[in-house]
Amino acid sequence: MSAAGGNPPVLVGRDIRKTFRRHTGDVVKALDAVSLEVGPGMLTALVGPDGAGKTTLIRLAAGLMTADTGELKVLDIDVAADPQQVQERIGYMPQRFGLYEDLSVLENLNLYADMHGVTAAERRERYPRLMEMTALGRFTDRLAGRLSGGMKQKLGLACTLVRLPELLLLDEPTVGVDPLSRRDLWKIIRQLVHDQGLTVLLSTSYLDEAERCDRSVVLQEGRVLAQGPPAELSRKAAGRTFLAEPPAGQTARGLQARLLDDPGIVDAVPEGGQVRFVRAAPEADPVASVGALQGAAVVPAQPRFEDGFMILLRGTAAAGQALAGSTILDRPPERYGDEVVIEVRDLVRRFGSFAAVDHVSFEVRPGAIFGLLGPNGAGKTTTFRMLCGLLPATSGTLRVAGVDLRQARASARQRIGYVAQKFSLYGPLSVTENLEFFASAYGLHGGRRRDRIGWAMRQFELARFARLPSEQLPGGYKQRLAMAAALLHQPEILFLDEPTSGADPLARREFWRRISALAEQGVTAIITTHFLEEAEYCDRVAIMDAGRVLAQGTPAEVRRRARPEPGRSPTMEEAFIAIVEAARHGESPHAASVGGDA
């Protein structure tokens, strides 16, 4: 390697194409004429939603797949011709790092050290540093299967670092990892790049992570939309990004929904009680010709990567087309006034001696959006299952729609709709057949059933896919179908478990618009999410960790609990980290030893 010379790129791809054949027979273009470069000593991010082709590209670079056409050189070696030589010199962490769960932390490390021929002397020098970096030192004898999700990712990373690779490939290293571990992982990665000159190519669907990299490559449906320093993309939004304070009597969510309807606006998201929006074109007067902004106080904002990304995305997706997504109910739930619609008091659920849910209490009022936030294993899904009557509570009070779930589960179920985390409809059945099945399951028959299915087809724009097997639906439409099925029996309460995980930013905005519209019409929604900025769409949020509710309130109240940093208002993620850390204080020296940052 000639890192000293003209600094040639570590990875060069030219016109790479890769297609897959699905079981159903149709061909998917995973990568379509992709060209990219990864410079030495740099942190390069592959950004894009699920299905953009990130994993395929990284597997090609690791020599685990072969491209149909095109050229891919890693460390100046043609990967397709000599994958073994590349594999000996790089490090690779797949999305789900294949740790051996019945081996201990140390045994996993040793296995990889043996594979790479790391000598005992080198191990003595290297292991303590890896342990310090990952804060796994106390757990060397623990079986990998008993580690938390975040610790597993750190161990996976450590396994790829038993010797310093010439290129490190990381496939979505932070997916499914709680915000604290995410922050720790980022510290490790940046430290490696800055202190040891490591070259890293990582993929991510978090846009804020791309912003922290030296270079970004934006992928969308197998094509490169843009590549360059992230700031370059952010600059596209310069002079077009503003923050609007909603006028008195209006919610940020309401203002955001109306802004999204305006053809002059590319993007709008709630942020800290205000609305961040991006105009389609630079404009001296931010309020100009946008009716929704009347009476709102508008100030220019620092453009972010996501703002530039949205400009790019809206530019490709049928330019100017408004976001789909307002859903109108034909029979909104009757208002109960201000009566509490969900009441949870001292809810406990034990599995053996382990309390998955530990004295949780909260209330939800009708027409509200309630967000349940927390890392994996915090007890969100267990709470959900009890609320839906799928799992009996060990103790505590649980009233849904005025019905005590301990006595009348069946009648409560008629009034709730549930959208599971994973797509849980019948894949081989068509859209119509799925809707018909769920309508029958909810006891709808004859004309009533026809009406409801017709409503769902119209409101969720599913008619053109009516006869397509639902497993072949494009990602966003699967989500729509799942929601349509859950709304067929006109429930007044909707439960959604991680509905936006893996969705692209456009689909996420569309989803939230629907939820806002439903809430306006009186439907109560309870949602879990790991995109913390989405908490801004909620009326109230509860932050859970280790089975307990640590904080509860409006997003603004929760945000205030963050450690104040001068110069800007804290984000929801910072608040979350501060709250969870305070609660765990003394329990684990979380990444306390991880040193300097760039």
Partner: protein
């Protein structure tokens, strides 16, 4: 790939260290994973006990009526022989009509009739004992018939030994049961058991643990290291080969000490034949796991193509010669068939080289083919 390997020769020790490390890793997993222990150790033990004590093709304590119409001491002695035999539960009667009733009511499965003139005919040398057997269960009937003949034969032999002249005696043709003088079905069930255990460990367990690695993505991480595919395969083969030998030892110990079954041939021949079969089974397991890459499918396919044929078509439970020609033709491609031939020979007959060598040769060829094939089709690729 070969070109680069030649141009950059690496010391064998690096390869050896990687294989050794993989073997160690696998051993840890076997020891810690309850399902491996279950298939490798617990299942053989259960099968041994089940087959040894639960499943037996022997007929014991058959209820028979002994109709004693002749009160002479000779006749009484013969009747007592039935009463004392472990194979029969004899009810002594004096009237044939009563015996018929019992037979019709299925309270006895056979009648032994000693006629009134038995003693007289005995002295004349043409004595007869009538044996009537309930024929609804043809298999059982045949066995009872042979047992009864055996009981009479024993009585005759005893008389001869005591010097009582029987003047030619009642001539009863007795089938001597070859290789199973004790008439104990464990003699052929236990060798069959060895086949099942070896198939379970070699094919099923190996297919499942390898498919698990594909499924959990552990191979994906492992592939992007200097490790070669043959090293990965060796790392799987060696520990499960060892586990298979443990299973074999358990079966042999059970055979020897639990059921007192002799091994007529050499234990080394037995071990050699078992190793060959184990290699074939391992190769099949690896092939299936690479082709399916899913634990569920791999286990289904393995049971279908290796376990069930080993159970039904290897000749251990059902005689190959009694199968239709088509089925018999199919059995020729089943490795278990050749292994059973070796096992039965070594256990029951001895080192009959004319049987052992050709069967072992077929197994060796099969092992080479499946192992090479699995080496060729398993690649460090995900597409």
């Amino acid at each position: 790939m070969n070109a680069t390997e030649r141009s950059r020769p690496r010391p064998l020790s690096a390869k050896g260290r990687r294989v050794w490390s993989l073997v160690r890793k696998e051993t840890h997993q076997i020891v810690r994973d309850p399902s491996s222990i279950a298939v490798g150790v617990v299942l053989p033990v259960i099968l041994i006990l089940l087959f040894g004590y639960g499943l037996s093709l022997d007929v014991m304590n058959v209820p028979v009526a002994v109709v004693l119409e002749d009160p002479s001491p000779d006749a009484v002695e013969l009747a007592a022989g039935f009463q004392l035999s472990p194979y029969f539960e004899a009810r002594l009667l004096t009237s044939m009509s009563r015996a018929r009733e019992l037979m019709l009511a299925r309270q006895v499965d056979g009648i032994v009739r000693i006629r009134p003139d038995f003693a007289r005919h005995l002295s004349l040398g043409d004595a007869e004992v009538q044996i009537l057997v309930h024929g609804t269960d043809a298999n059982k009937a045949r066995i009872i018939q042979i047992y009864a003949q055996g009981a009479v034969g024993q009585w005759t032999a005893r008389r001869a030994a005591e010097g009582k002249d029987v003047a030619g005696g009642p001539v009863i043709v007795r089938d001597r049961l070859w290789f199973n003088e004790a008439n104990d079905s464990h003699y052929f069930l236990v060798p069959g058991l060895v086949v099942l255990v070896m198939t379970l460990i070699g094919a099923l367990l190996t297919a499942m643990v390898m498919a698990r690695e594909w499924e959990r993505g552990t191979l994906e991480s492992l592939f992007v290291t200097p490790v070669r595919i043959d090293e990965v395969l060796l790392g799987k083969t060696i520990p499960y080969f060892a586990l298979g030998m443990v299973g074999l030892s358990l079966c042999l110990l059970a055979a020897r000490f639990l059921f007192q079954i002799p091994v007529r041939g050499s234990v080394w021949v037995l071990a050699g034949g078992s190793m060959l079969y184990l290699l074939v089974a391992l190769g099949i397991g690896l092939l299936i796991s690479t082709a399916t890459k899913s634990q569920f499918v791999a286990s289904q396919v393995t049971v279908l193509v290796s376990f069930l044929p080993a159970f039904m078509l290897s000749g251990f439970l059902f005689d190959l010669r009694s199968m239709p020609a088509v089925v018999r033709a199919i059995t020729t491609i089943l490795p278990a068939r050749y292994y059973v031939a070796i096992l039965q020979t070594v256990f029951l007959a001895g080192d009959v080289w004319g049987v052992i060598v050709p069967n072992a040769a077929v197994l060796a060829i099969m092992a080479a083919v499946v192992l090479l094939l699995s080496r060729v089709i398993t690649r460090k690729k995900l597409d």
